[in-house]
C-alpha cells in the first residue's frame, strides 16, 4: 500500500511503455489477438504469456511415492493419492537432522497441519505444481502471475536491484532477470507459513528460491526451482518439471476461493449448536 520512501523505491510501473518496435514473429496463432501467441514479446524476450499448469503429483510428495488411501475413507477411490516419481534432483531432500524430525511430524499430522488445507496462500514453488492453472502476464517491467488457487498472485519485478520491502510474505518477494532465453526469478522475503507438499516438507522464513523458466517449445516450459534454507537444509537442492500450456481456445482462470471450503474446519466448533 504505502511506500512513503519514494526516493528509495523506484516506481513499479512508470506511466507508459516506451513504444518499442513490435517484433511479432508469427508462429501459428491460435487466437485473433495479435501477439498473444507470438514466440517473442515486443521487447524480444521469450513469450511466457498464457495459462499454464503442472501435470504431476508433486503436490502430494516431491519425492517418489506410491499410491495410497486418501484421508477420507468414505471417498474411496475418488480422493486417494496417486503415485508419482520424484521431481527432486539427486538424492532426496537434504534435511538437517532436527528438521527431518519435524518433517516427519508434519507428515504424520498432515491433515491437521498442512496450510493448503486451510486455504492459506501456497507459497513458491508450490503454487506452480498444486495442479491448478495459473496465468502468466508478461510485460517488460514486471511479470505478474495469477493463480487460480486461493486467488493468490505475485509480481515478479524485472529489476534485480529493486530493494526488498523488508516484510515477510506468503508468496515472497520476486525479482526477475533474463539469462539468455531463461527467465530467472529470485524469491526471498518469505514467511515460514507455507509448505512444499502434502508430505510435510517445509521451510523457515530464511527460504530463498531461485526459479528458472525456459520455453521448451510453444506449449511447454521447463521449470526449475533451487531451494536454499540454511535453517532447515544442509545444502541447496533442486526440483524440476515441465509446465504445460492450457491450449483450449476458451481456456481462462476460474475461481477457487477456498476460504469458504475451510471455514467448517477452522470455525466449526464455534457455530451455534441447535438447541443451545
Amino acid at each position: 500500500m504505502r511506500t512513503g520512501l519514494g526516493s528509495a523505491i523506484v516506481a513499479i510501473v512508470t506511466a507508459a511503455f516506451v513504444a518499442v518496435m513490435f517484433l511479432w514473429q508469427g508462429i501459428p496463432v491460435a487466437t485473433q489477438v495479435p501477439g498473444a501467441r507470438a514466440a517473442r514479446t515486443s521487447d524480444g524476450k521469450p513469450n511466457l504469456n498464457g495459462i499454464w499448469q503442472s501435470l504431476n503429483s508433486a503436490n502430494w510428495d516431491l519425492l517418489d511415492h506410491g499410491a495410497k488411501q486418501g484421508p477420507v475413507f468414505s471417498l474411496g477411490a475418488s480422493f486417494s493419492a496417486p503415485a508419482g516419481l520424484s521431481v527432486v534432483e539427486g538424492d532426496g531432500i537434504p534435511y538437517k537432522p532436527e528438521a527431518l524430525a519435524k518433517k516427519k511430524e508434519n507428515q504424520a499430522n498432515w491433515a491437521k497441519l498442512d496450510p493448503e488445507i486451510k486455504c492459506y496462500m501456497p507459497g513458491v514453488p508450490r503454487a506452480n505444481y498444486q495442479g491448478f492453472p495459473f496465468q502468466i502476464l508478461q510485460t517488460p517491467q514486471y511479470i505478474h502471475i495469477a493463480y487460480e488457487f486461493a486467488s493468490a498472485y505475485r509480481a515478479i519485478y524485472m529489476d534485480p536491484k529493486r530493494p526488498s520491502p523488508g516484510i515477510d510474505m506468503w508468496m515472497g518477494f520476486s525479482r526477475g532477470h533474463w539469462e539468455g532465453d531463461t527467465l530467472v526469478v529470485d524469491v526471498t522475503g518469505f514467511s515460514d507459513g507455507s509448505w512444499f507438499d502434502r508430505a510435510g516438507d517445509f521451510h523457515s522464513d530464511a527460504l530463498h528460491v531461485t526459479e528458472r523458466y525456459t520455453l521448451a517449445d510453444a506449449d511447454h516450459i521447463n521449470y526449475e526451482a533451487t531451494i536454499e534454507d540454511p535453517n532447515v537444509f544442509t545444502r541447496p537442492w533442486k526440483i524440476n518439471m515441465p509446465l504445460y500450456r492450457r491450449v483450449e481456445k476458451n481456456a481462462q482462470l476460474l475461481e477457487y476461493k477456498c476460504p469458504e471450503f475451510a471455514e467448517e474446519l477452522l470455525y466449526g466448533d464455534l457455530r451455534k449448536q441447535p438447541g443451545k
Binding site: A16, P34, G35, P165, D168, E263, L270
Partner: protein, 361 residues
C-alpha cells in the same frame, strides 16, 4: 522498506478485515503503533478529475495516443480509488450536484487533517476501528460532485424492487458488519470472511489496484483480498450460466480510448450494497484522462434489486503514497477475528442462558 514504514507495511499487507478486531497474520512483523507524519495535501481541485498531486516525484509520461506494444490504449499503472465523496448525495448537499473548487479543497483539507487521528468512537471494551489511513489516508481526494452516483440525477440509489425490500437489504450494510447475527460464519459478509470484496469496488480499506496489459488481455490486480480479474479482449462469449463467480465473468472491448468491461455470472453469495449479486449485469468504462487519472464509470443493472440501472463515477488516480501493490493475506490472519466474532456470540448466549437460569431459581 525500513523503519516504522516497513512495519506499517507489514500490518497493511496482512490486514485482517473482520470488524471486531484487527489482527496481524502469521509471519507478520509487529505493526507500528505510530502512523507516519501527516503529509499535507495540495489544495485546489480542477474539475472533473481529483486534484493532481503537485509533488509527483515519479514523472509519469502519457499522451492520449500512447499505446501498448500490441496496440491497446495504455491504462497501465498503479492507482488508488480512495474517495472522500460519498456514493449517495447527502441531505446536507441541499440538492446541489456540483462543488466549487474551494469546497473541494476544504473537504480534502479537513480529511487530511483528520486522516490519522484515532477514530475514537469506540464503546468500552471495543478494540477500536480503522482511521482513514486504511482507506487511502491523507492522500484521498474528493471529486467535484456531491455524490459518486451520477445517474439517477438526484445522486441517490434508485428505489429497491419489491423483492429486494422483502429481503430486508435496505439496512445499512455497515451495521450488519458490526452487529449482525453470528450463528455461523455464513451469517457474516463475504468481505469479513476474507473471500471477496464487492465488484465493482467502491473504496474501503487498501483501495489500490494495478492495471496490467498484455496481448489480448487487460488485467486488474486489486490489493484488497488479493484478487486478479484477467479480462479477455478477444470477443469470446461469457462462460455458461451454471458457472457463478465471486468476481463475475468479465469480457472487455475497446471503444476508442475507453475500455468497456461487461461482467455477468456473479454468484448469489456475492453481495453488492448488501444485495445478492447473482442477477447483476455490470458495465464498467475505464478512460484515461491524463497521466495520473482514469475516469472509472460503473453502471449497475440488477433488476432483482433496483427498479432501474444506476451509474457512479469514481476516479482512479496515481498517488505517490500508493505506488505498489502489496500482499494482502486476509484469510491467513483472520482466524482470531472470526473466532472472536463467533466465540463472542457463543459467550453472550452462555451468559444469557446463565442469567435466565438464575432468574428461574
Amino acid at each position: 522498506m525500513r523503519g516504522p514504514h516497513g512495519a506499517m507495511l507489514g500490518a497493511a499487507a496482512i490486514l485482517s478485515l473482520a470488524s471486531v478486531s484487527m489482527v496481524a497474520g502469521q509471519g507478520s512483523k509487529p505493526a507500528a503503533k505510530t502512523p507516519p507524519p501527516v503529509k499535507k495535501t495540495t489544495a485546489a481541485a480542477p474539475a472533473p478529475a481529483p486534484a493532481k498531486s503537485a509533488s509527483s516525484k515519479n514523472a509519469r509520461k502519457w499522451t492520449p495516443s500512447a499505446r501498448t506494444p500490441d496496440g491497446q490504449p495504455d491504462l497501465q499503472g498503479v492507482y488508488t480509488f480512495a474517495s472522500l465523496t460519498p456514493m449517495e448525495r447527502p441531505a446536507s448537499a441541499g440538492g446541489k450536484a456540483e462543488l466549487t473548487p474551494e469546497e473541494v479543497a476544504a473537504i480534502e483539507k479537513r480529511a487530511a487533517d483528520n486522516a490519522l487521528k484515532d477514530n475514537d468512537r469506540r464503546r468500552p471494551g471495543d478494540p477500536g476501528t480503522y482511521n482513514r489511513f486504511w482507506g487511502g489516508g491523507q492522500e484521498a481526494k474528493a471529486t467535484t460532485r456531491t455524490s459518486l452516483i451520477v445517474d439517477p440525477p438526484d445522486g441517490r440509489l434508485p428505489p429497491l424492487t419489491e423483492k429486494a425490500k422483502k429481503l430486508g437489504i435496505a439496512q445499512n450494510r455497515l451495521s450488519r458488519l458490526d452487529f449482525g447475527p453470528a450463528d455461523s460464519w455464513l451469517d457474516r459478509d463475504p468481505y469479513e470472511r476474507c473471500i471477496a470484496r464487492e465488484v465493482p469496488r467502491t473504496g474501503g480499506n487498501n483501495p489500490g489496484a494495478q492495471i496490467v496489459q498484455t496481448p489480448g488481455y487487460v488485467t486488474i490486480v486489486y490489493e484488497a483480498m488479493h484478487d486478479t480479474r484477467v479480462i479477455p479482449l478477444d470477443g469470446r462469449p461469457h462462460v455458461g450460466a451454471h458457472i457463478r463467480l465471486w468476481n463475475g465473468d468479465s469480457r472487455g472491448r475497446w471503444e476508442g480510448n475507453t475500455l468497456v468491461v461487461d461482467t455477468t455470472n456473479f454468484s448469489d453469495s456475492q453481495t453488492f450494497f448488501g444485495a445478492p449479486a447473482g442477477q447483476m449485469h455490470l458495465t464498467e468504462r475505464f478512460t484515461r484522462v491524463d497521466a495520473d487519472t482514469i475516469s472509472y464509470e460503473a453502471t449497475i443493472n440488477d433488476p432483482a434489486t433496483w427498479t432501474r440501472p444506476w451509474t457512479f463515477i469514481l476516479p482512479w488516480y496515481h498517488s505517490d503514497d500508493y505506488e505498489e501493490i502489496f500482499e494482502y493475506a486476509c484469510h491467513e490472519g483472520n482466524y482470531n477475528s472470526m473466532s472472536g466474532i463467533l466465540g463472542g456470540a457463543r459467550e453472550k448466549e452462555r451468559q444469557a442462558a446463565e442469567a435466565a437460569a438464575k432468574g428461574k431459581k
